[in-house]
Each structure stands twice: as structure tokens, then as C-alpha cells.
């Protein structure tokens, strides 16, 4: 049987009761709209929150951990190789924190296909001196340009310019919390004492706010050379190499491989920040659950309306059957009706969902914790639109199934005799 005829009959039946059809379609439209808006908004927030940490974190970080040496000298001795050695009271060693042969490692990483960029870093534990008070802090020696490019460093500098640490000698960018504690503002000079008890004056050229308060209370940034000077190390001294991978999923594998290759410790982002992934996952799950619930409710609406339509159209179904339409044809007609409601409602839903997303995107959202954000974040991923349209069709298909089955079972004799 030709599909065009089925389509024509379905269309006539639909348009004859266009108000009911509209109500059913509006149900689908509403749920798809909410589905798209909700997921877009939720995912936008997720991305934002993840970005707080993940954007600024290296995918793989190479460093040297302070830890007990796994190979004790006795194990190296050929005399005791075959014996089982017990060593008591093993202590962590203050081994070199610097990454040995860093120049060569950087060269090798630059040639690696999987790496988008690398930023060397020096972490130095210091005390900031404010009158009689010493405040512990960390100075990160960074390459401001690379750091901004790879880890959005300059986005979080709320006063001054990130590049200034490279230009002005002996300069520092303080975390907002730290600056408040030190009563330091732009242009001031703060005193720093290193662990080896050397004092350094540093000029404040910027204030930095990450949105994570604990972080802002201890962290500060200086150029690589300034950090090297503070620590009294040569200019090949770096303690961390931060790597941004082309594909974040590769990070754990790369970490393992690089640790072995370069003889350093390596930490990947998944291990370091697993709690964020869990959080994102749960939030997405909740949004999907709510969206799908909405669609199921809309599905029941369609089911009701189709059922009602079948009772109303009993005569028409009987006459179609009497004039040679089989149960299968009738079934197809009603499935077509259900799917058109789904398709039409779903398409409108996608459109309105997009508009709602645009609307949410315009709502001001200012928070001190997130300096770069001015409006609510929204994600416009096509995946949601795809899932939304697929789901609207699936729901209407399922909602139409039972009524269509019922319609195909209508016995024309009972209807005609019943008059």
C-alpha cells in the first residue's frame, strides 16, 4: 500500500481535529524545549565548574615527588643481590626537585604528536613577610605567555597584566586572598623569604583570582627567571613540566609512558581531579532524568489524545476497513499520526529550546569567584538536539503503538451494527 495515501488520510484525520493535535504537539514541544534548555544550561554550568579546575590544570604534569627511594643502596650491591634485604627506618630524601635534563625533555615533548603545548613551571615554597607576620605561600615561576595560551592564565588576572611578570624584573602577581592578607595593592613591594632563608623584595604587578578561595590565599606567580633567582638556581632549573594533550583521554597513558621515559613522576588530570568528573557525571545524569521524565509525560498526553481520537473515529475506521483497508493500513495511519505529532512537536521544541538557551545566555550572572563570567553559561552542543529529536520520535512511537494497535483491531461489524 502506498505511503502517500496513508499520509494523506493521516493528515486529514489530524487536521480535522487540529486543536487536539495542537495540544498533543504542544506537550511534546514543551518537553523538548525544557530538555534542550535544561541540558544546555546544566552542561554549560558543568563545563564552567570543570573549567575552574580542569582548564588550569595540566593534562599531564611531570615532577619529582619527595619520597623514600625505592632502590636502597644495599639492593645495588652484587653481594646481596640474591638475598632478601630488610631495611628499617627508611626516610624520604630531599632529592633534587628539579627535573634533570629539562632542556632535552622539553625538546622531546615539543616533537611529540600528542602534545598541544608545554609550559615549564617552578614551584617554590616561600614566606611572605608582612610586619611581624609570616604567611606561607607558593610562588609559581611560569612562562606567562604559554601559561595563558594553554591554561587561560590571563583570564584570571583581574588587575594588571599577565605578561608584566615577564617584562618587569622581580615582579609578582598575587592571589586575591593573599594580596588582601598582605594589604598589598598594585605597585607595592612585598617581602619574600625562601626556605633557605633568603629575603627578596618583589613588586606587585597584578592580582589574580581563580575562583577557588583556598587557592588564591596561597598562590602567586612570577616569571621563571624571577623564581630561579629567588631559589638561587641556574636558568635550566624547573620543577614541573605541564603538558596539554591533544586528547585529554590519552592523559593517563601518556603519564605512565612519560614517567618511565624521563625518570620523573607523572600525574594525569583524571587521577588528580577524579572528583570533578564524578560531579559532572551526576549532574548530567540528573538533567537527562528530568528531561526524559518530561518526555514520558508528554508521551502519555499523546497516548490519551490518540485513544480519544480512536473512539471518535470508530466510524471512520469501520468504513475504511469496510472499503478495503486492512488492519495493518489502519495501524500505519495512526502510527503516522503519532509520529507526525512527535516530529512536528519535536522540531518546534528544538527551536524553542534553542531560543530559551539564547535567553538564559543573556541573563547576567556576576560572581566574585568567577571573574571571566558575566552571564549564565549555556552549552549549545548538537548532541542534545540530536538526542531530543530522536527521543521525541521514540516517545511518540511508543505512545502511538497501543492506540494504533487498538485501532487496527476495530471490528467494523460491531461499529456498523451498533447504529
Amino acid at each position: 500500500m502506498k505511503l502517500s495515501l496513508i499520509y494523506r488520510i493521516a493528515k486529514s484525520l489530524l487536521l480535522a481535529r487540529w486543536r487536539q493535535t495542537l495540544v498533543a504537539a504542544v506537550g511534546v514541544t514543551f518537553s523538548i524545549t525544557m530538555f534542550i534548555a535544561l541540558l544546555g544550561f546544566m552542561t554549560g554550568l558543568n563545563d564552567l565548574l570543570d573549567g575552574l579546575i580542569l582548564n588550569r590544570t595540566a593534562h599531564v604534569r611531570l615532577y619529582n615527588e619527595i619520597e623514600p627511594n625505592t632502590t636502597q643502596p644495599i639492593n645495588l650491591s652484587s653481594e646481596y643481590r640474591s638475598s632478601y634485604n630488610f631495611v628499617h627506618s627508611v626516610k624520604s630524601v630531599r632529592s633534587r626537585q628539579r627535573i634533570y635534563n629539562s632542556g632535552a625533555i622539553l625538546q622531546a615533548l615539543k616533537a611529540d604528536e600528542r602534545v598541544i603545548g608545554i609550559a615549564p613551571k617552578i614551584q617554590a615554597q616561600v614566606f611572605f613577610n608582612e610586619g611581624a607576620v609570616d604567611i606561607t605561600g607558593v610562588i609559581n615561576g611560569i612562562d606567562a605567555e604559554e601559561e595563558s595560551r594553554l591554561f587561560h592564565f590571563s583570564d584570571y588576572v583581574i588587575a594588571g597584566n599577565a605578561q608584566d611578570i615577564a617584562i618587569v624584573s622581580n615582579s609578582i602577581i598575587l592571589g586575591k586572598g593573599l594580596a588582601d592578607k598582605l594589604l598589598a595593592s598594585m605597585g607595592d613591594v612585598v617581602q619574600v623569604t625562601t626556605i633557605s632563608n633568603e629575603r627578596f623584595p618583589l613588586k606587585v604587578v597584578g592580582i589574580f583570582q581563580s575562583g577557588v578561595q583556598e587557592f588564591d590565599k596561597v598562590q602567586s606567580y612570577a616569571s621563571l627567571s624571577t623564581a630561579q633567582k629567588i631559589l638561587g638556581e641556574p636558568n635550566s632549573y624547573i620543577t614541573d613540566i605541564q603538558i596539554k594533550a591533544r586528547n585529554i583521554e590519552d592523559a593517563p597513558k601518556m603519564a605512565k609512558e612519560l614517567a618511565q621515559l624521563f625518570g620523573t613522576d607523572a600525574e594525569d588530570i583524571q587521577t588528580a581531579n577524579s572528583q570533578f568528573e564524578t560531579g559532572s557525571f551526576v549532574r548530567s545524569l540528573i538533567s537527562y532524568a528530568v528531561g526524559i521524565t518530561l518526555l514520558i509525560v508528554a508521551g502519555f498526553g499523546i497516548y490519551n489524545i490518540l485513544n480519544m481520537m480512536i473512539y471518535e473515529k470508530m466510524d471512520s475506521i469501520a468504513i475504511l476497513k469496510a472499503t478495503g483497508f486492512s488492519g495493518t493500513d489502519v495501524n500505519r495511519i495512526f502510527m503516522m499520526i503519532a509520529l507526525s505529532i512527535g516530529l512536528f512537536g519535536g522540531m518546534l521544541g528544538l527551536f524553542f529550546g534553542f531560543l530559551t538557551s539564547l535567553g538564559i545566555d543573556q541573563i547576567p550572572f556576576n560572581t566574585t569567584a568567577l571573574p571571566t563570567i558575566t552571564t549564565y553559561p549555556v552549552n549549545y552542543s548538537p548532541t542534545f538536539y540530536f538526542i531530543g529529536s530522536a527521543f521525541s520520535l521514540v516517545t511518540t512511537f511508543l505512545a502511538g503503538w497501543a492506540p494504533a494497535q487498538k485501532a487496527s483491531m476495530v471490528d467494523p461489524v460491531i461499529t456498523i451494527r451498533g447504529k
Binding site: L5, T323, G324, I416
Partner: protein, 227 residues
């Protein structure tokens, strides 16, 4: 008459089982030849409508054999029966049963489109000529629920004719019409048999109507008492 047998029944029996078992049709055996104008009469409740539904293949719950155009309907699936109804049988009911969502013309065309033997344009022309033949061509573009009862009955006759069926079955076609319209419908039937050699089976309780047909099958209590 030595003409080909269009429809034949052989020992058809039917029971209504719900709520109590009632034997409604008893050993119904008869033949309808091509080009015959046959009427079935009987009092209300004698089973004549029930018989018609069985003959129309819509009711499959019976015993015995129904043979249409040489094929036994017992072996047919629901799909095949639908096809038989579409191709070989035209229906006219007491209540006009048009699809109110469609225009008069579309109502007439639908069984033709379903059969799909001809392209749509040809079916449209045929439908229009049928409507013209029945004197209601001017109603073609009206909605099916905007026309009078007599006109509706003529539209359903046009619909029954669209696929050139081998037999047209009518269930009290004039039962719901006034005298004038009944007369018009009867004249149409007469013309169909005389001029177009159409085979007709009409269930009626109107003796005047039946008297004018070629053959009368009289039923009582589920049995044929005279044919």
C-alpha cells in the same frame, strides 16, 4: 439463468456466543449469478444483516463456505480479505458512512486509491463521471458532512462503484431515506442492473422495494424460507 456464479454460500451457520449461545444463521445455501438484482427480506432479527456481514467478509466467525469469484474466503488472511472487499465488493450502508474529514470526491476516490490499479488522475475522472452519473457532480468539492442524507447515500453508491466491483451489497439502503430519495436510490439501482449489468444484493425490509428486484430471498429465524 446460466450466467457465471458471482457469490455462493454453502451451509453457512453462525452462532452468537455472548452472552448466551444463539443460533442465528442456519444452513444458509444460495447462489448469486452475475448481473442479478437480488433482495433479501425478512423481519427484524431474522439474521439478514448478520448474513450480509458474513457475505461482505467482514465477519469471519462462521461455519460453512463463502465463495466469491470462485475463491473460498475461508483460506484468506485478514489482508487478503481486505483486498477482496476493496476489489470485488462495493458497500452501501443504511447510515451513509462517509468520512467526514474528506470531501465528497475524496470519499469516492479513496477505495480506488487504495486499490492503486489506476493512476490518481484517472481515478479522479472515474469518480467524477460516477458522481455525474448519479446527478451529484456539483457536490464533488463539498465536505462530506455538508450534504443531505439522500445525497450522502448517492455518494456512497458512487464510492461502491469506483473499483468496478463484481457485486454491490446494500444494507437497508433506503431504510433511512424519505420516499422521494428512496425512489431515486431505487431508480439508480435499477439503472445499474439494466444498463451496466451490475450484480446487486440488497438487504431490506421494504416489500415494495423487494418486489421490484429480480429475485427475492426471504428469511425467517435464520433460515431461508423462500428463494
Amino acid at each position: 439463468m446460466n450466467k457465471a456464479v458471482t457469490l455462493q454460500t454453502n451451509q453457512i451457520n453462525k452462532w452468537f456466543r455472548d452472552p448466551i449461545s444463539v443460533h442465528v444463521l442456519k444452513d444458509i445455501t444460495f447462489k448469486i449469478h452475475a448481473q442479478e438484482f437480488v433482495s433479501v427480506i425478512g423481519k427484524s432479527g431474522c439474521g439478514k444483516s448478520t448474513l450480509l456481514y458474513i457475505l461482505s467478509t467482514m465477519d469471519t466467525d462462521y461455519e460453512g463456505d463463502l465463495i466469491i469469484g470462485g475463491e473460498n474466503m475461508r483460506d484468506h488472511t485478514e489482508q487478503q480479505l481486505a483486498h477482496v472487499r476493496n476489489e470485488k465488493i462495493g458497500f452501501v450502508f443504511q447510515f451513509h458512512y462517509l468520512l467526514s474529514e474528506f470531501t465528497v470526491l475524496e470519499n469516492v476516490m479513496l477505495p480506488g486509491l487504495k486499490l492503486g490499479r489506476f493512476p490518481e488522475e484517472l481515478i479522479r475522472e472515474k469518480a467524477l463521471s460516477r458522481l455525474d452519473q448519479l446527478g451529484i457532480k456539483k457536490l464533488a468539492d463539498k465536505n462530506a458532512n455538508q450534504i443531505s442524507g439522500g445525497e450522502k447515500q448517492r455518494v456512497s453508491i458512487a464510492r461502491a462503484l469506483i473499483n468496478d466491483p463484481s457485486i454491490i451489497m446494500c444494507d437497508e439502503p433506503t431504510g433511512n431515506l424519505d420516499k422521494v430519495n428512496s425512489q431515486i436510490v431505487f431508480e439508480i439501482f435499477k439503472e445499474l442492473t439494466k444498463t451496466y449489468h451490475q450484480t446487486l444484493l440488497v438487504v431490506t425490509h421494504d416489500p415494495d422495494f423487494a418486489d421490484n428486484t429480480d429475485r427475492i430471498i426471504e428469511m425467517e429465524d435464520g433460515k431461508i424460507i423462500k428463494q
